[in-house]
Subunit: 477 residues, 2 copies
Amino acid sequence: MSGVPAARERPAPTVVAGVVERLARDYGARASTNASVREQHGHGEGLADAALPDVVVFPHTNEEVAAIVRLCNAARVPVIAFGIGTSLEGHVAALYGGVSLDLSQMNRVLEINADDLDCRVQAGVSREQLNAELKGTGLFFPIDPGANATIGGMTATRASGTNAVRYGTMRENVLGLTVVTADGRIVRTGGRARKSSAGYDLTRLFVGQEGTLAIITEIQLRLYGVPEAISAAVGQFPDLRSAVQTVIVAMQHGIPVARIELLDELQMRACIAYSKLAGYEARPTLLFEFHGTAAAVKEQAEMMAAIAADHGGGAFRFATAAEDRSQLWKARHNAWYAALALRPGAMGFSTDACVPISRLADCVLETREDVERSGLVCPIVGHVGDGNFHLLVLFDPNDGEERARAEALAQRVSLRAIRMGGTCTGEHGVGIHKLDALVAEHGDDAVDVMRTIKRALDPNDILNPGKTVPPERRGQA
Amino acid sequence: MSGVPAARERPAPTVVAGVVERLARDYGARASTNASVREQHGHGEGLADAALPDVVVFPHTNEEVAAIVRLCNAARVPVIAFGIGTSLEGHVAALYGGVSLDLSQMNRVLEINADDLDCRVQAGVSREQLNAELKGTGLFFPIDPGANATIGGMTATRASGTNAVRYGTMRENVLGLTVVTADGRIVRTGGRARKSSAGYDLTRLFVGQEGTLAIITEIQLRLYGVPEAISAAVGQFPDLRSAVQTVIVAMQHGIPVARIELLDELQMRACIAYSKLAGYEARPTLLFEFHGTAAAVKEQAEMMAAIAADHGGGAFRFATAAEDRSQLWKARHNAWYAALALRPGAMGFSTDACVPISRLADCVLETREDVERSGLVCPIVGHVGDGNFHLLVLFDPNDGEERARAEALAQRVSLRAIRMGGTCTGEHGVGIHKLDALVAEHGDDAVDVMRTIKRALDPNDILNPGKTVPPERRGQA
């Protein structure tokens, strides 16, 4: 994991004071320098990446965001978009102080176009809120990163989660955006047509830019009809290789599974204990979900069960009733807390490797061996239909040597995925922790193209400085 | 349609002569100043958009492309990527002379990763060539813009075609790229993982940039398993509204149709005559194709037939045998020639509106009325599952007034689509003909962001100058 990049400096205290004063005048109680508010906005849910902003401001409109950004740009004071604080890679840490722009009060669903299967929301709408507001329309928004993140944050990090294998990621599901540029202009990108060849794809450029090129304030999203039928199934396998091979074969056959989640033996043991899952064994396990017509769901589940049986998966256990499915997915969503409970007092963080599906078994099994050699406790969960898996790395926060070992292990996981033609981050983003891995993955020249774009769109380096793209050329990791 | 933008000037003849001389020395017969070769490279299949390059060069490797671009950049001489010349929007016209970079000899399929359903090809590979080379692997590349375009050209224009409704466009199907930047660096973008949050989405930025930000030399593509079953069906409708409403309802129900093509009464009449289609009437017609397991295809076709029957579509005529399907799709692919045959001696061009599906009936019917008022002969075909349709505008090339009327009609179609929340170009691109429409669609500020990116990545304006993004702010059309 990288240290803080050195290219930028904090603005002078008098300059910051001027900005704070102006914000207090314009926004009153919606501009806070309260220590606990600043502390809350200085970190996400990642590891020890806190850095406090000087002030937190809560805008209500695009125009307010634009005014705040213009103020910061004139003063060259950093401005860092903040949603709900579930980032795992240090995205919201105010490395050089400045303004935390909390978008959580911009939380209106602006329009639902049921006939076109799309909607427009403000950046602070959370995914659970959106799905609650869609109740009764027959539509839903599928992307589910686990945390109840904001749509703005999910867009900014190109998030995905358990059912990206069927519905894609934020990259595929954002139709258009409203953003505020570094010079404080309100810009609409994309549109509501399902395809377009009209000019540069600014929408995709702003999805995944982590608030470093523009502040995302509104998102036009694709929606989907709630499937006629949903069915879940659990397969348990004699070993990790068999479980992963089952996934590979299913993907190669093009079975349109909505979710395939892997839990290794250790993670399954943790989930059984934490979530009181009855009737399951602590063995490598796949959770499946199928969406479609009743006939299609039945056909998919049968094909999947046949492939699993070929790999020693035994009989599937089906969960068709909504409450059974809900228990299963709740256990999956709580995997992180279940893992932490394996080792009370430990801290943890997650790796995020994603590889071409043919390399998934190699990558998972080599990683499992690497974990064993490391002596660390690290369960594995994964959105394996995409080739994406997470190692939940636990360590004793009071043991510096163990922490270094944990970070070295994580670094090896990133480089292993890259070596296998994959990526260091399937869905969490770069933030401050993966700057070196980004260079290892894309090479100096591609990162230099990114840097050129950053400099062109944010010449004063005010937008979330120190994140996503290293400010200067570095040697490859 | 826009005139030629004025911001750039032709390089001095002595400068061009120096570049030509150097290319002749380095590439021998692969650098041609032959008049007919230059003429062939000065236009696509669009309307009257010819402008000759000074020289045409045929590189064989990324390194040669990089060397040529470096030479041009040093001399500030334009360089225009050329595939196979099927562009419809003037993309390859050498507005300021310079070098036409013909990539057709870079036509190798570099790797096929059947286990990962992906491949890497050089930019000059055509889509038919790729599918021929995939024979026997059980895989295919679905994107089909009609013309046997190169994969490089399809990537550069963000092309799609008849089955984008199921498989997406080039935006969704390009996993990564090798490009040469304006300063002559060879840069790899993206990767082989199905998803990634690692940095800015350079791949999507370079898909659809029409050779104005970088030269695309290699493309990593998604592939798909050849469906177990394919079935085609034809529905004929009492009027245009009924046909379009059938499509809208099918899309809102989420039926995963692989293709839905609309032919209006006039186009159907033209196709019956041109392609000797027996047993069909000259009425508004939908062609469907269904892909999947045998059971899934049957279920989709039944659902679709029920929706069509609700809209007066009568009984479907099915074509399950490959040769029957082939005749049908050949007739569709020849729609353009069939349309031209409606009016011997006429020239034609195609509009490319794409709207949110709920507005499709309004847009098509208003356009049909507009055509009637115009007195022109303009059949309609459409990839209507995406909300995309083409008006094939025929006019007498010797009648200036009629041509002006034809262009005014096309302009109204673009603006109508934009007004309905859609785009002026679903799949053909901007080129030189839609620069004003681009501003009308995205607004001055968004276009200014595009221009900022163009200037940052191509400061000497050597890459396909005068295309895609207007060089200076214009008033909205």
